[in-house]
Symmetry: C2
DNA sequence: AACACCCCGTTCGATAATCGAACAAGGATA
DNA sequence: TATCCTTGTTCGATTATCGAACGGGGTGTT
């Protein structure tokens, strides 16, 4: 078994991006270097290269932050799925007054790819793209599992979600949060994603909400190429 | 004057991402290597590293595409601005039945950071994040310029936009497309962005639309921290 | 079957890209 | 002025990277 060599330089460059993403605001090169644990001159060279690709940009104050090239790159992640989901998600968010989002499986994780906040509710739950958790916890992940062919020894909540068409969870990802989700099943019968909403209220007609989310998920599937 | 050394390895790694973004669908490593004009074994090493950072992912068929880590990174580009703009944009898009988007200046360019398509119009103009053009062409760029302090020798359309509060353009970026935009002026008087809509119809009350866009831009500014 | 072709993934010595201590040049503070 | 801190660059030593070559698996063709 080999060591599967990795690229040190590329790794450090990507860590620069991650450090900038995790930071509160723009940073100096010295701060970045300290965080990445590399020599300053190394970070200089890398920052220049990242700047060429517009992945970082130097603000007017001389500090560095993430650049707009990332917006273009992110838009190219599953573009067909994103385009198909966008209208259905915003319609759903408006209808029910909750944040609606699209969750995609990646290995054993469920990752939020796209989220739409409702137009005008006093309070709503912010749910950011990039959020990642186990596919076995939370309605979005359960919905994805339920959309797949039945597996031996699968959890009870997955089986229930499969028969009723949507999944429900409470506090599995964030305490106090409830979530309802339905799988997006594409033409070939594969599960591409799930559509979900989150909320905190306890006076919600879950069954009706479930049907509404199922309809949104179907709409997404219909728009898929 | 030195050559401002750049990092070859990092550059090639980023080009891998760009190649994947530009591609129609997932690619083999050999295809990527050909496109990037680097040896296959180099691309192997880089792909492994990119995979560790979840910027690329290997599909079930063994092909590689962009990974979900990009969604998280993109969300960290001006997060405050994105959060502030999201609700106002989707409300605007719904109200007027047009695609609404947030445009940010980067040097001499105007770049689309965020876009929201309307819920249910038969036809609407798709406008993708990452679109970039000169800040001097098109309503979004003009609006940003108009939000800045008056400059000597500035174009007439900028001056007009400043007095009326919003900018209008026709076919400057895409032929046949009309666009109306208004600047987002933050608390410190700086111009962070502009809010814009695009459409093709010629029977639109431009003045009324302009007022509506101005209101949306104000709403975004109000939500800014 | 045997062949040809393409893609995958890895190995390893030569090489060139990278590393990082040291340097020069501003600001700021005292 | 002198001191300190930060930014940005230089350049020889080192080491990560490069890339030709290898082995193996899959698919389609003769």
């Amino acid at each position: 078994m080999t060591q599967s060599p990795h690229s040190q330089t590329l790794d450090r460059g990507l860590r620069v991006l991650e450090v900038l993403a995790a930071a509160e605001g723009p940073m100096t090169i010295a701060e970045i270097a300290a965080e990445v644990r590399a020599h300053r001159s190394i970070v200089y060279r890398m920052i220049r290269t990242l700047e060429d690709h517009r992945l970082v940009s130097r603000g007017a104050d001389g500090l560095y932050g993430l650049g707009l090239g990332l917006a273009a790159l992110a838009r190219s992640v599953s573009p067909a799925l994103q385009s198909a989901a966008m209208p259905a998600l915003s319609e759903l968010a408006d209808d029910v007054g909750m944040t609606a989002f699209l969750v995609v499986p990646e290995g054993d994780d469920a990752v939020t790819l796209l989220s739409v906040e409702p137009r005008r509710t006093a309070v709503h739950v912010a749910y950011r793209p990039g959020v990642r958790h186990s596919i076995h916890r939370g309605a979005p992940g359960i919905a994805i599992l339920a959309g797949r062919p039945p597996a031996a020894g699968e959890a009870a909540n997955v089986a229930r979600a499969r028969t009723q068409g949507w999944a429900y969870s409470q506090g599995e990802v964030l305490s106090g949060m409830r979530s309802v989700a339905a799988p997006v099943v594409d033409r070939r019968g594969g599960v591409a994603a799930s559509v979900a909403v989150v909320y905190v209220a306890d006076d919600v007609d879950t069954a009706a909400l479930g049907q509404r989310v199922v309809a949104a998920a179907k709409a997404v599937a219909t728009e898929m190429p």
